[in-house]
């Protein structure tokens, strides 16, 4: 079937790019445009239109709500400090379910393997996946294997799909952010991106920066235990980092977000690496952190609930939602001035000066 460009909502941004560039997968504006102008019009339906980390569907003739999500993992190298593609494949999908407010039930796993991948490497990755799944207590119930010719893949790609159950009274949705809400983060930001970057680019620091890859379903459960309806938005700030996630929420909910940069937890080593490379930790990927936008009256109790869990020990209140500057994230900087924190566009590139 010929593609009818006129059917796209606004194909103009895509015409700027006659071919796909890496930035289209970077989680920033280019990714958003690809989804909005190509995928959404083609697959249009209510569940998809929500553009959350996963879809929540109600079973016909019942009030049971299921969450469904899928994610593909293409990280290079396959093993990096603190984690691996196997851990990511399990935790990433568990986290997407958790960000829908769901309790994870089961997973699927698809492997696209490049011819020539050492069997021992594959076995190691699968062992890490099995460990991670056992830790979460979620079985991998079905899967698929494909092998592509040498040169037609980069070692190993993994896709996982997750199914979860959304408890009654839980209603998390990016559009529920409302003025007065409080923004929480569950811990230090930027660890994962810098850990991967440091091995990929052969950068060595005095201490090893480890990925924060971890399952977040226990943290979300802790938030819901305070008051299910008090949790308005959940997000795991992966690609595009904290800045990307907050900009998406601000745009979806048509609210402004004020971020107090002084309160955002950043490990000293990560901050130092960012200073050296000219990167901004607010834009660096995380794999074991969540952002929660919660009702103001529940904020302190939820902060305590996060801190009571080992994965949330460094949780902090980092900002609030406002009816000013709708769609934008404004930062209060280290010296107490303000700046715009724009949405990332494509990949974050190290600066020359």
């Amino acid at each position: 079937m010929a593609i009818d460009l006129s059917q796209w909502t606004c194909p103009l941004p895509l015409r700027d790019y006659p071919s796909v560039v890496l930035g289209h997968g970077g989680g920033g504006k280019l990714s958003a445009e690809l989804i909005e102008h190509l995928f959404l019009p083609a697959f249009r339906n209510d569940a998809l239109a929500n553009l959350a980390d996963g879809a929540v569907v109600t079973l016909p003739g019942s009030s049971t709500r299921l969450a469904l999500t899928t994610d593909s993992f293409v990280v290079r190298p396959l093993f990096f400090p603190g984690s691996s593609i196997g851990d990511l494949a399990i935790n990433g999908t568990v986290n997407d379910l958790a960000m829908c407010g769901a309790h994870p039930l089961c997973l699927t796993a698809g492997f696209i393997i490049e011819e020539g991948l050492p069997m021992a490497t594959l076995a190691q990755v699968v062992a890490r996946m099995a460990e991670a799944a056992a830790r979460v207590g979620v079985p991998v119930v079905t899967g698929d294997t494909k092998v592509v010719e040498k040169g037609h893949g980069d070692g190993l790609f993994i896709n996982t799909t997750g199914l979860g159950l959304v408890p009654p009274a839980v209603e998390v949705n990016p559009s529920r952010a409302r003025p007065g809400d409080v923004v929480l983060v569950s811990g230090t930001v930027g660890d994962h991106g810098i850990a991967v970057l440091s091995v990929r680019e052969g950068l060595t620091f005095e201490t090893t920066i480890e990925s924060d890859c971890a399952p977040l379903h226990e943290l979300t459960a802790a938030l819901f235990a305070v008051r299910p309806d008090g949790v308005h938005v959940l997000r795991d700030p992966t690609r595009g980092g904290l800045a990307g996630a907050l900009n998406e929420i601000a745009a979806r909910a048509e609210v402004g977000i004020v971020l107090d940069e002084r309160t955002v937890p950043v490990r000293q080593e990560v901050q130092a690496a960012c200073e050296l490379l000219g990167l901004d930790p607010l834009y660096i990927a995380n794999e074991g952190k969540l952002i929660a936008i919660v009702a103001r009256e529940d904020a302190e109790a939820m902060l305590e609930a996060l801190r009571a869990h080992p994965l949330g020990a460094q949780a902090a209140i980092i900002g609030e939602v406002t009816d000013q500057h709708a769609g934008m994230v404004i930062g209060r900087t280290a010296i107490g001035a303000t700046r715009v924190i724009p949405a990332p566009i494509g990949e974050q590139l190290p600066r020359i000066c």
């Binding site: 500057h325 700046r339 000066c353």
Partner: protein, 378 residues
């Protein structure tokens, strides 16, 4: 990091800003020369702490912004040659050439790699003896020593598959070109601290004297910048066009003599075209004839490259502080950070990109918030 935190103290920053507010009696236009300073100013919101009288103009010290279209097209042409690995600093990848940028070239199959140092590119050349490794060597006096070192090392190692596409530019000739322009508005300069840490600041007193402008050697942390601005305002108010060093912890009058010797061995001065400014005499460095084997321009016969800047883009005037970004007809419509026409819209430190973000903030802020979101003369 503790050392850095000390130069980001919010209380001291407010005190410096207060001192500037107290001493200023009339409007002044101050140019911060370096893109790194612009970045820090935007990143920390320093421009918003200043009184309305102090207008900061973002200068031409962003190497990405001033690299001419012709050089980018040349890099793209070389990157497209068989067997070539093109290495570059990261932020060059999104700067548009005539048809595309290096990111697009990469998506089309060119081997384009981000490196953090030219020495990494030398290593890539050693690891890939059957490939031609070309480093896109741009930048000011700050990046030049490492580039000189890379060429020096490549020659010592006898590497025959390493070369550099050099487009080095120099700060003092650019300052002088701006001062000689009949429509110049800049009354004082914050000189780029990192450039001076290499070159010293012996070149500046004659400039300050000849053109009657104060020049303050300034660092990059919030307190450094506020101190630099404070000193510049004080010199302007007193009518004393002196040179002051506000970055003494990194900069000496002579600079890094060993680095300067290495630079003199590898590079020689040449006329250089600046994107948006045109050709400035003796404003660049090229490889000396003794190092010609490592000069990508000689090694790869790309031929003549004809380029034409988008007619509507007025980034050159923005770089000279002659117009505000939002006075350009393409600003915010044809030209946005996602679809940049000029390099000043590309990186967050580019004047146009900075203006784009703050302009959006200003237009959506409720009138009840009196805070000026931009003091670039709006």
């Amino acid at each position: 990091m503790k050392y850095l935190a000390a130069f980001r103290n919010g209380e001291l920053a407010q005190r410096l800003a207060e001192e500037i507010r107290r001493m200023v009696t009339r409007p002044w236009v101050i140019m911060e020369v370096c893109g790194g300073q612009t970045h820090a100013i935007i990143r920390n919101g320093i421009d918003q702490m200043l009184p309305a009288e102090v207008e900061l103009v973002h200068g031409p010290g962003c190497p990405v912004c001033v690299t001419p279209l012709e050089t980018i097209d040349r890099a793209l042409a070389i990157a497209a040659l068989p067997r070539v690995i093109c290495c570059s600093f990261g932020d060059m990848l999104r700067v548009p050439g005539s048809q595309k940028d290096l990111l697009r070239a990469r998506s089309e199959g060119c081997d384009v790699r981000v490196v953090y140092s030219p020495l990494d590119a030398v290593q890539i050349a050693r690891d890939n003896p059957n490939r031609e490794v070309v480093f896109f060597g741009i930048g000011f006096e700050t990046t030049a020593p490492a580039n000189a070192m890379a060429v020096h090392l490549a020659r010592r190692l006898g590497l025959r598959n390493f070369s550099m596409l050099i487009s080095h530019v120099l700060v003092p000739p650019a300052i002088e070109a701006i001062l000689q322009s009949p429509s110049n508005r800049v009354q004082a300069f914050l000189a780029a601290g990192h450039v001076c840490s290499v070159m010293g600041y012996w070149q500046y007193p004659p400039l300050a004297e000849r053109y009657g402008v104060p020049i303050v050697i300034t660092g990059f942390e919030p307190l450094d910048l506020l101190d630099g601005i404070r000193r510049a305002v004080r010199l302007l108010e007193a009518g004393t066009p002196h040179v002051e060093n506000a970055y003494a912890r990194a900069v000496s009058f002579e600079g890094n003599v060993a680095a300067q010797q290495m630079l003199a061995e590898v590079f020689e001065p040449c006329d250089r075209a600046w994107r948006g400014l045109g050709v400035i005499p003796n404003s660049g460095w090229r490889l000396r004839p003794a190092y010609r084997d490592f000069d990508a321009e000689y090694r790869f016969d790309i031929g003549h490259i004809a380029t034409q800047e988008p007619a509507v883009c007025r980034s050159g005037e923005v770089l000279q502080g002659k117009i505000k970004p939002n006075q350009c007809p393409a600003f915010g419509t044809l030209c946005t950070p996602r679809t940049p026409l000029g390099a000043t819209m590309v990186s967050s430190e580019g004047a146009c990109a900075a203006y784009y973000n703050f302009g959006r903030f200003a237009s959506t802020s409720a009138p009840a918030q009196p805070a000026r979101t931009c003091n670039h003369g709006n």
